[in-house]
Point group: C2
Chain length 643, copies 2
């Protein structure tokens, strides 16, 4: 990853390796991570602006703006329904604008887009329900403000104490489980949005509801089809890219227009995004224009909000950092350093400000952050030729002689990521766009959108997310007929039930979280999600062999340039365990094999020798390649020597 | 196609080659074709029953039954709307049952499924509109009966005079244009079906209409997804095949069930297939139970019906024979002989019977007939391995030495048609099923189906048809980026505008026919369609070179076993023209090249030499292979020698 003219981040001064005594305790050396984050990134600040002045950044900006705006509005409508209208469109726009402003200008990693997620919406209306149950419905604004203040304080503590380091333990196991959970929540929200239309006007409006289903379905398939064009060989590369970049704007404009066709469609009286007064809160605040009079909350409730604030911090700790990590995941060739501690501190600031002005708290967007990086990445479609030779079942015809071999010629398309435009421009333009939307005329434009369209947004964003997750990919593998599986797929060396068993642990975490989300305990789900990390690090290496985990799982971010900010690359526990075992065997001789603690280890060793891996590094390289090809859907480049 | 143990049909006694004098005139030797049709097929009659006793035939029977029944009902609903309810469900079922009875028992080619098409529905309601305009609305039944009687008589004349021979001139140019036209009509009917729901109850029911759109869309995607599974490598071959065979029944049962979910959906009061009295005509007939009192039509109107009858015969001549040809097209490895003349005579009988009992006249089903053959064809999914070598752009690395070549292994799926179950059982079972449906209890089952579901049927049948046609395939080719085109695609040697130019002629025919279909002149569209045959045969060879036509077009049926019934394989005009030219050049020496009649010929010769075709046969073989691979979507087997 590190090229000649780039600084080498593998020996970054921010490290805890080899330290002893009090110096090795992260909590005892506050601000160390934040200091190095800034020092590492600051030299790139001006280049962050210069590097954004190109077509790709502008095109990517339009794409990510729509993928950020549409779900934000959708979640806002959801919150509006569930908080008696306390949260409205203006709150969503202000929150998104605030987040984009702070993070585009001051963050260490401006690629991580920050905004309103479904999870904060879940938190906000669960808290609303709790206050309603406690009979302090009127104190909801103040109650929520205090939750946010506590969250801000705990954010600052976590950032200062270098606790973001633990994010390096995030592997695909937990990040994909979380992505899967979020995908499910999106899908469900889509159905809820449609269902709500039945009751949108007083006596219900089933005609509009069904027309809404039609619009949502068509929107889903339009975006899906337009985005799929990017992967085909139709038209020219530029047209393909244009259609797939602008899939959301095209579909949004078309189906909004469709919903205004005079006659039957217009008469259906579709519920639309509500009108609001520009720049003012949806519900007038007593203490001033936006400020919430949080000082009016009785002290006993202030203490009640503390644990809730901590839960918000837990949520954001996981959610924000995962979105940051996935935005910097291994498939993107990044050159500029990350800064997890500093950015988490900034998030504390947006929590505080968001809390006292009564808007939904923004944080890293999980399915959208990697889309942002993707949309500012320059891809090149390489034309390559291949020559193919067909063999009968198991036939090894003409392998050595080359005589009389028959060939088929192919033209192939290979997609290569050449460069990521690591810059602040797209994020900052988004901020300007949000501020612009808060003005009267553009609010009127928003009002023309049918609410049902947001169901389509939920479905397509959720569906795209779900299908990319390793849970889905593994289940597709399990259901694939074995004889047709790509032989370069490393999973072919494993039993299918082992893969299913591995996925089962992810399912468990997802199922519990989804279950919780529909109860008052919803605000507790981050605990479940975070528990997946120790499960992966402590339990799984004892159930699965090193070989299995190396194939099925990997750290989500692997570049030194990213890992430098969180204390460098960790040693995977299964590798350490296997190392120990090998060392023990070396000490006790060959016969010790049978004295080890059970059949799992024996199996692991069997697999190792069958696969014929020669050493750690080679295996690592092979897995990386397979992972990458899996992710991009490109022909595996895993090549086997011939001759 | 002709294997050792099968009779050789290439020297069939039914031929007009080499005949002179009155013996060479088809019309002067009536019944010759019919006689040989029967004589050729009769020896296979009992095997036609034996060969149907297997799982594939039964599974195929379920599939084709639904693909036959659902559009038939849909067209019937369409006719019901447009003929003030004269035609109803019972008429559709009786017509389908009659056709299946006659053709399963007595036809020479029982693979050609016969039933109600959209075109006869178009005829029937256009005639209704004409009678209404002429003020003889009450005479509609008699008027239509006489149209049918004239059609029957002209059918018999055409069959006796061996005129079906001209069907051997049908190439993909005209058969695919016709298929495209039918596909468009299907799509339009889908939208009309939905639109009609707005006015299904007196004051309109937009709620049901939108719910109907939802059901139709979901039905479309369900069938599409289920049928697509057959092409994947998911599950096992049997499960894949089962899901794609039963896509229509599964989707029909599911979405019918869905439309009955209590609550909002049930309350939407979807229009459903109407109730009728079992075994009775929809409108009571005066003269008896089913018989139409056709003898009560004034003589002047009898003469008016003659040209309409002839138009029906023209329609059926084209429609029925094309469906028969596509049901026996080149991709199916058929062993048993066809019988076009005899079957057309039978069709005259069903026209007569259908006319006097007042049911829609059945004929060969255009998108469905090849589906029938396909669904009783045994396919084997062969597992083959391939070894692939990637080269850089234009690179020719390691071609000769074979040293240090790097390989990628693949597992591939190849689909091969091993055998067609050529039998009468599936067709006869369909007859029994239609008769069964006419009974009271099953009519009640039909009544549970929402009408909107038929819009989904129209869309999926139309869409599947449209996407298979060469017009679509050629346009996809035109829009494909050149560098990624499969090099074994023979079209790569041609200019794209020539392909577009060729397609333009097809579009023209389709556009005129579609245009006509929405006017009173609708019944004249068969003339346009049939005019495509001489266009292809006389005009196109003068516009396109032999090389171009050989690649872009081919006779739809090519097996001797099929062509024997229609006078054997014809010489393509472009081949004859090119032969003549070559002979002339041979006579007048090399310099004559420039004296020929224009630049087209010169270009043709240029192409010939550039492509380096060595002789007619080799070219023929290559084209056939390319055609086949195009049709099956299988990797082209066109292999180039290596050594």
């Amino acid at each position: 990853m590190v090229s000649q003219d780039e600084p080498d981040f593998s020996n970054d001064p921010y490290s805890w390796n080899g330290l002893t005594g009090w110096k090795s305790y992260r909590t005892l050396r506050p601000f160390r991570g934040m200091y190095w984050d800034v020092r590492r990134r600051l030299p790139y600040y001006w280049s962050d602006w210069r590097d954004g002045l190109n077509y790709r950044t502008l095109a990517g900006c339009v794409r990510i703006f729509f993928i950020n705006l549409l779900p934000a509005l959708a979640f806002e409508l959801d919150m509006m329904r569930n908080t008696d209208g306390y949260f409205g469109i203006n709150e969503a726009l202000l929150s998104s604008a605030l987040a984009a402003f702070v993070f585009s200008l001051f963050s260490c990693q401006p690629l991580t887009v920050v905004g309103i997620t479904g999870l904060i919406s879940l938190f906000n209306y669960t808290i609303f329900a709790i206050t309603a149950e406690q009979g302090i419905r009127d104190l909801y604004p103040q109650f929520l403000a205090w939750c946010s203040i506590w969250a801000a304080i705990t954010h600052w503590i976590a950032a200062a104490c270098n606790w973001c380091d633990y994010m390096r333990y995030i592997t695909d196991f937990s990040s994909n489980s979380f992505g899967f959970y979020v995908g499910i929540i999106y899908m469900v929200k889509g159905f809820q949005e449609i269902a709500s239309t039945y009751y949108a006007v007083d006596d219900g409006n089933p005609r509009a509801a069904y027309l809404g289903v039609v619009i949502a379905l068509c929107y889903f398939f339009s975006v899906w089809a337009l985005e799929s064009i990017g992967g085909t060989i139709l038209f020219t590369p530029n047209i393909r890219k244009l259609l797939s970049d602008f899939a959301y704007p095209i579909a949004t404009i078309f189906w909004t227009g469709f919903s205004h066709i005079p006659g039957h469609i217009k008469q259906a009286d579709l519920p639309r995004v509500p009108h609001t007064r520009a720049f003012y809160p949806s519900v007038p605040r007593p203490g001033g224009v936006w400020l919430v009079d949080f000082w009016n909350l009785p002290v006993k409730w202030i203490f009640v909000t503390l644990p809730i604030g901590i839960l918000i911090t837990l949520l954001f700790y996981y959610d924000h950092n995962i979105s940051s990590i996935t935005a910097q995941a291994k498939q993107f060739p990044l050159k500029k350093p990350a800064g997890f501690h500093w950015d988490f501190f900034l998030l504390g600031i947006t929590c505080f400000v968001g809390g006292v002005v009564g808007i939904p708290l923004p944080n890293g967007l999980v399915p959208q952050a990697p889309v942002h990086t993707d949309s500012v990445t320059e891809y090149v479609e390489v034309h390559a030729r291949s020559r193919e030779q067909w063999l009968d079942d198991g036939g090894e015809r003409d392998e050595s002689s080359g005589e009389g071999v028959q060939w088929i010629q192919h033209n192939n398309k290979k997609v290569e990521a050449t460069k990521v435009n690591e810059q602040r421009v797209s994020h900052f333009l988004m901020c300007l766009a949000f501020v612009g939307l808060m003005a009267g005329p553009l609010l009127d434009v928003l009002h023309t959108m049918p609410r049902a369209l947001f169901a389509g947004v939920f479905w397509i964003v959720g569906f795209t997310g779900l299908s990319a997750m390793n849970i889905t990919q593994n289940w597709i593998y399990i259901f694939t007929e074995k004889r047709f599986v790509d032989p370069s797929d490393l999973r072919t060396g494993m039993k299918k039930w082992r893969i299913a068993y591995y996925t089962m642990f992810q399912f468990l975490g997802v199922a519990i979280s989804v279950g919780l989300s529909f109860t008052r305990a919803a605000i507790g789900f981050p605990v479940v999600m975070i528990a997946l990390i120790p499960l992966r690090w402590v339990i799984l290496p004892r159930i699965f062999t090193e070989h299995e985990l190396l194939i099925l799982d990997a750290p989500t971010a692997e570049a030194e340039v990213v890992l430098a900010s969180i204390g460098g690359r960790p040693t995977l526990p299964e590798v350490r365990l296997a190392e120990e075992r090998r060392r023990q065997r070396g000490e006790s001789g060959e016969t010790a094999g049978s004295t080890h603690s059970g059949s799992e280890e024996a199996k692991a060793e069997g697999m190792r020798s069958r696969e014929g891996f020669r050493d750690e590094e080679e295996r690592e390289v092979e897995r990386e390649k397979a992972e990458e090809s899996k992710r991009r859907g490109v022909k595996a480049d895993l090549i086997t020597g011939h001759d």
